[in-house]
């Protein structure tokens, strides 16, 4: 099969065996790769009702058909598992350089199952597969562990690691790679920790069959040239994603003080300009990327001197505005600490912000944390609590399960300001005056994450007080953006430069030989979107409409200040958005795909599971 390595690697950690299996043609034909493979293999492989942190859960790792080929941004690797954070479908992708290495080693997917009896790391050198002892690595930071394995194995190995947070099964632990790239969301690193799997090191030397090598080279060259010549190329790169900080404040969507507000008055001290002028050392790109969004920074202060990749926008939003740390040096320092601990800095900043509000309201009392404080704006408090969480000490053990479960433990109304959906903490856009962005968050299949649909410019362009057309646009975006995750491509060329989507069917045909229109490719993405919904319906009791609401703060509390002061989206507006969204999707009023929809999408195999839930 052109574009595919042709093999799936199955590794059993319990009995320390592995198998190299042929890639089923039907899997490639119907689910393309990456996120598609993750979704289908999770459905097939993970037994219903599996404990996310038990040996029966499985980790699926998958590159895509374009991975490693010659085109911009073909370096994403998709990770998936039943999420310990949400109990439902979980995936997260990572950039850097490891995705092509997996493909060059000969694999289109890796299934990791069982549970090792002692710490191990997975060593993949082409078809030489070993589980090696990680006893000497256990306890190391995520970045420290990668450096140690680079020394041990050589620079040519690409390595994913977990830090202490993953080892201790913190539900928002992240997988780290390339000293600052993360598969951060949905807690898959906790699943690795539960399996005693500290790292995966990969080196590959094989070739990938291409349908038309000459056309691949030619279209790839044209794509790079088009990227370089795109208006915006030179302006976008210096600040990367941090460059959006001013704008998000201007539109009143910047998470501030645990999402109390959408405007942070001190944003100019943590924005892209502050990053570039005060701490940036150089740009840093992933495999085959012409628009490096990574910013490698150094921070020197009297009490620390460190290098970190970042902070990128999401970290600036969640560690900066959301906990009111008001200078770029301290944001970068807190970013570094969470990276080394192996904490997702989106959920990490969200959880610390939640804890700070709990402290301010007297829900967490000083005597419960050894006489300490948890003050908004304090980097010392931020770092202390991050370490308590990563090692599950004291109050950190409660917060390590995320804001949803922590608020259920604390009570006292704290669930109103536990800013999450489905158990996943909200990322960097306050959406109380952005109905399409709100709908994007509440219907994202993994929980409150922005990368499935980023619709805030659509809200601004079409009127933020209008609801018409919002559900339709969100649905479209939820097919476009996850399609990039199936192809395992970075979408920033499209999102940030306006790179034309028409390029992708051309390169897809050159690589795979399959003549698909963009709309045909989108239909595969819709299939996967419905399959992930079915997975969560199967796994999470009561899942459906009730899981698609934002926290009470967003439905009942007007934004107190800034350009969106006074705005919020009451429950009846959320209901209207959901009704329209479900209708467009072909789901019933409870958010369950109809039998007709499943059949039309080639998902008839899920009907027997889903039918009883319709009642």
């Amino acid at each position: 099969m052109n574009g595919y390595a042709g093999n799936i690697l199955r590794v059993n950690l319990t009995d320390r065996t592995h198998q190299i299996l042929p890639l089923p043609a039907s899997l490639a034909r119907d689910f393309i790769g990456g996120r598609g493979f993750v979704a289908k293999l999770m459905w097939d492989e993970i037994p219903a009702g599996a404990d996310p942190l038990g040996p029966e859960n499985k980790i699926i790792v998958a590159p895509g058909p374009l991975t490693g080929a010659f085109l911009p941004g073909a370096g994403k690797l998709e990770w998936g598992a039943k999420s310990p954070a949400t109990g439902g479908y979980g995936d997260s992708n990572i950039g850097g350089h490891i995705a092509p290495e997996v493909k060059y080693a000969g694999f289109d997917a890796i299934i990791i199952e069982g549970q090792a009896s002692e710490p191990v790391y997975l060593y993949i050198n082409d078809f030489n597969i070993e589980l090696r002892s990680a006893a000497h690595l256990w306890g190391q930071g995520a970045l420290q562990c990668e450096a140690a394995l680079k020394t041990e194995l050589g620079e040519e190995f690409q390595i994913c690691t977990i830090g202490p947070a993953g080892e201790n099964k913190v539900l928002f632990a992240c997988i780290s790679h390339d000293f600052g790239r993360q598969a951060g969301r949905t807690g898959i690193a906790a699943v690795m920790g539960s399996k005693n799997l500290k790292a995966m090191a990969v080196h590959g030397t094989k070739s990938i069959p291409l349908a038309d090598p000459a056309a691949t080279l030619e279209v790839g060259k044209q794509m790079f040239a088009a990227c370089f010549s795109k208006p915006g190329f030179e302006e976008w790169t210096p600040q990367g994603t941090a460059g959006v900080t001013n704008w998000v404040n201007e539109v009143g969507a910047f998470p501030t003080r645990n999402f109390t507000s959408g405007f942070f008055p001190k944003y100019e001290n943590i924005n892209g300009e502050a990053l570039v002028t005060r701490i940036k050392v150089t740009d840093k790109a992933c495999y085959g990327c012409p628009i490096p969004c990574g910013k490698y920074s150094r921070v020197r202060k009297p009490n620390y001197d460190m290098h970190v990749e970042g902070p990128e926008y999401e970290t600036i939003a969640l560690i900066g505005g959301n906990t009111e740390i008001d200078n770029i040096e301290d944001v970068a320092y807190a970013n570094y600490i969470q990276d080394e601990l192996g904490l997702d800095s989106i959920s990490g900043g969200n959880v610390v912000g939640f804890a700070m509000e709990c402290f301010e309201k007297g829900i967490i009392k000083s005597e419960a944390i050894g006489g300490r404080t948890l003050r908004f704006g304090s980097v010392e408090d931020f770092v202390w609590l991050s370490e308590e969480i990563a090692y599950r000490r004291g109050i950190g053990n409660i917060l390590a399960d995320g804001v949803k479960k922590a608020s259920e433990f604390f009570g006292q109304g704290s669930e109103r300001f536990a800013i999450q959906v489905k158990g996943l903490e909200w990322s960097g856009y306050e959406a109380r005056f952005a109905p399409a962005m709100m709908l994007s968050y509440i219907t994202a299949d993994v929980g409150a994450h922005h990368n499935r649909s980023w619709a805030i410019t659509f809200d601004v362009a079409t009127g933020r007080d209008k609801l018409e057309g919002k559900a339709k646009r969100v649905t479209e975006l939820q097919h476009i953006r996850p399609l990039f995750d199936m192809l395992c491509l970075c979408r920033l060329q499209w999102v940030e430069l306006g790179f034309e989507l028409e390029w992708y069917p051309k390169i897809f045909q050159a690589v795979t030989g399959q003549n698909r229109t963009w709309d045909e490719l989108l239909s595969f993405s819709e299939r996967v979107w419905n399959l992930t919904r079915c997975f969560s319906l199967r796994e999470v009791p009561g899942f459906g409409r009730s899981a698609d609401y934002p926290p009470a703060r967003f439905m009942e509390e007007p934004i107190p200040d800034g350009p969106t002061a006074g705005k919020f989206l009451p429950r009846e507006v959320i209901d209207r958005l959901l009704d329209e969204y479900y209708e467009i999707r072909g789901w019933d009023a409870r958010g369950i795909p109809t039998a007709g929809k499943l059949s039309a999408l080639g998902l008839g195999f899920a009907e027997a599971t889903v039918a009883p839930l319709r009642g």
Partner: protein, 78 residues
């Protein structure tokens, strides 16, 4: 009568007339970037930054006939 050369960088070009990312806007006087955007029926909040003749400017900066103005889209986060 003259023209202002308009270039839109990034994804918000789809909200400009005919979804164009490069065009000449006929004008009979100098305009601020805010006035120009409103004349194009584009919400100024959609624009993250403005450059006039290669130099970054605020949205209330004056654009003279014959100038080239660049409008930057907001990036979409990490």
């Amino acid at each position: 009568m003259g023209v202002i050369r308009v270039t839109v960088r990034g994804h918000v070009a789809k909200y400009f007339p005919q979804e164009q990312d490069s065009f000449d806007f006929p004008a009979d006087r100098a305009l601020t970037a805010l006035e120009l955007l409103r004349a194009l029926n584009v919400d100024p909040l959609l624009i993250m930054g403005v450059s006039v003749n290669g130099a970054k400017q605020p949205k209330d900066a004056l654009i003279n006939l014959g100038d080239e103005v660049l409008f930057f889209s907001p990036p979409a986060g990490g």
